[in-house]
Symmetry: C2
Subunit: 453 residues, 2 copies
Amino acid sequence: MVDHIVVVGCNAAGATAAMQARKFSRKVGITIFNEEPYSQYSRCGLPYTISGKVRALEDLVLTPPESWSGMSIDARLGTTVTDIDHSSRTVKYRGKSDSGATPYDSLIFATGAKNSDPPMRGLNKRRVYGLRTLEDARALADEVTKSKNLVIIGGGLVGMEAAEAFCERGVHVTVVEFLPNVLLAMVDPDMAEIVETHCREHGLEILTNTAAQEILGESSPRGVRVADRSSRESRDIAADAVIVATGVRPVTELAQKIGVEIGVTRGIKTNDHMMTNLNDVYACGDCAENFDFVTHEPMTMGLGTIAVRQARVAGINAAGGDERFPGIVGAKVTKLFGLEIASTGLSEDLAKRFEVEVVKGSVKGITKPPYYVGGKDLKVKLFFDKQTRKLVGGQLVGTEDAAMRLNVITMGIQSGVDAAGFFQFENCYAPAICDTWDPLVTAADAAKKRLKP
Amino acid sequence: MVDHIVVVGCNAAGATAAMQARKFSRKVGITIFNEEPYSQYSRCGLPYTISGKVRALEDLVLTPPESWSGMSIDARLGTTVTDIDHSSRTVKYRGKSDSGATPYDSLIFATGAKNSDPPMRGLNKRRVYGLRTLEDARALADEVTKSKNLVIIGGGLVGMEAAEAFCERGVHVTVVEFLPNVLLAMVDPDMAEIVETHCREHGLEILTNTAAQEILGESSPRGVRVADRSSRESRDIAADAVIVATGVRPVTELAQKIGVEIGVTRGIKTNDHMMTNLNDVYACGDCAENFDFVTHEPMTMGLGTIAVRQARVAGINAAGGDERFPGIVGAKVTKLFGLEIASTGLSEDLAKRFEVEVVKGSVKGITKPPYYVGGKDLKVKLFFDKQTRKLVGGQLVGTEDAAMRLNVITMGIQSGVDAAGFFQFENCYAPAICDTWDPLVTAADAAKKRLKP
């Protein structure tokens, strides 16, 4: 019998877990702790407060602090969980004005992730930012008018979305990426190159295969010293401000303290009930390791979609339910200067890492019939498992309808479609929408032919 | 052993069948006959030649006449098949300058459909048009400048797309629909009402539940007499020109002549190999009856997607292959004044007709997260079979990303997903694209709850 649930962390995962627990049980007591003074807001929306596509920072707050009491959830914002005694099932907390202890029957870790700084000098200067919190975004908003040259270290999703936002506001932006391409955690190199070309055409400077070595300047930046990783030549790029966006790592200290097992991906190990190795202790969201949907390999994925889906399962199970999380497909999407970049399931890189032999179907298509004005180029890639012939991944890049097409691929992966089945896909057709054979189907056909024994 | 294939009809189905037969076999002889002097063009593109979204009628020709010889296909354009002797396996034809007979081992009917005129007076006047052929479109193009008032009889896909085109060119258009709503062969009444409101806001007049009784005037129209089917009151609407778009019926006369069986839907009955009751005689496209994917009930569907998919199967099988058509899901989409209207699988009406008890999940959602500017309303409806709990249909209406979302539903239907499975769907998420729980998933959740025993 669960009398009381404690949730540590109140962002996408924590807030969702608490609300789903409440939906499942009207009676259970729920306390949710958040170090930040806010309750759930959209982290993914932060870059858009800079470009103005999100009008105000406050708009990002999805669950206003005053709404918790209406759900009979005790939300302790600006309150840090300092210790947990799992033998007595008690968390200790400290807020600005109070401190104390709360008992629990079920405990949910939704502690998220934090920025993982790169090994370089000069990170402690003023006007060097991360972009993970409302405070970060608030501080960065000033740089739109103050800064002429912005350097962003890291060409992942956050780095690229921030770069677009500042570019759109007229700031000169250089992205410095250590790897040979941007967005490699998302798409294959050939897709990434399309993205880079497109972004450069819109005024963004991108330095790939380049190491950021030092932020130069006294109290605030005057430049960033970077080194080409091939030629080993160094040079200095002017910068009034710097954003560091070199990835995150799961926050697991508290969990480790009580003996919760950490996985190979550095996240908190969970099973398909989102339960850790300790009974009645759950984890969800960016702090949690779960499984890749296709290969069942351990995977931690900092995606909002995954966070809320895992949190729903954790919240309901923590309240006494029996829900199952099916594994992480990893559908990712973004839009940069009008270009949609979308990826799901295994990429070439992931397939290699998980030792899945894949057969690729790749086409350059067009979003509408050729006779209808305004169709846009679309590059599509599908991956099928050579053994099972099943769909295991896909990627799209294009200025129109790439993201929504990705959803078809994800649905296909989740329902176990194979190449022959995908080729039978009856896409909708109208001249104003798309052609009789969607590029997705053509790509499936290409793979199907290569799968022949 | 197949030495020679004859294809009757050279539009989407016939042309595809011939080309796929050639792809399958380099050696087989192929002759394709077309009554029209053109070879394959996009019928669906015709309305857009009026609005200018297709620049020239010629752009619609997908397979230029001169390209057939390059494929070693003998294309007899402007040539009518006058008779078939199936005992000797010979077709007789008559062209403008020649006539003769051609033998076949395999025969493919791709005779399409023709307009089915409504029971009303005055149809024989000048300036009364259908919209099914290039000639129709050519004639109608003149009306853009000549006509002030256009009446379109029939609010189906063709009627509504033509109405949009003329509206956009500044002509005053009235659509007269016999049934209580437009597009009822596609969507449920509640969805159709959203479409009607939207179209009216863009200046289109729509009279539903209204019978067109007579086209008035001497040699050409001066008006159309219509009667409200409830009040039975008649009135006359001004019209300089009239388009009749009251549906089509399969062209099956030649097939019937040689003993090919016709189905309940009036199409040529075919099996999953697209073969008729006669060995080596196939049918595909608008003239062919096949099966509904979900219920396996007989179905004829005048869709380009279905035509080319059936034709691929027919063409390959006619050449000696062994391909299977999986049945018709019936994914339909159009765009009217920026509003996307999309439907797949069973509608309320079809479910009733096929006696499938369905449970509905219906939501009014928004295409993007609420904090991101510019998200658009989206109405989503999913149907699940109450017995099997499987997804059997869905509809969307919205000004953004409705059509592409439909593809997810179709993929779900084709791969047998149930409500619980659809609720697990991991849609992609980014503020600029869509929210963490896509309206599709919310709709699946709504249905899942109602499916509980």
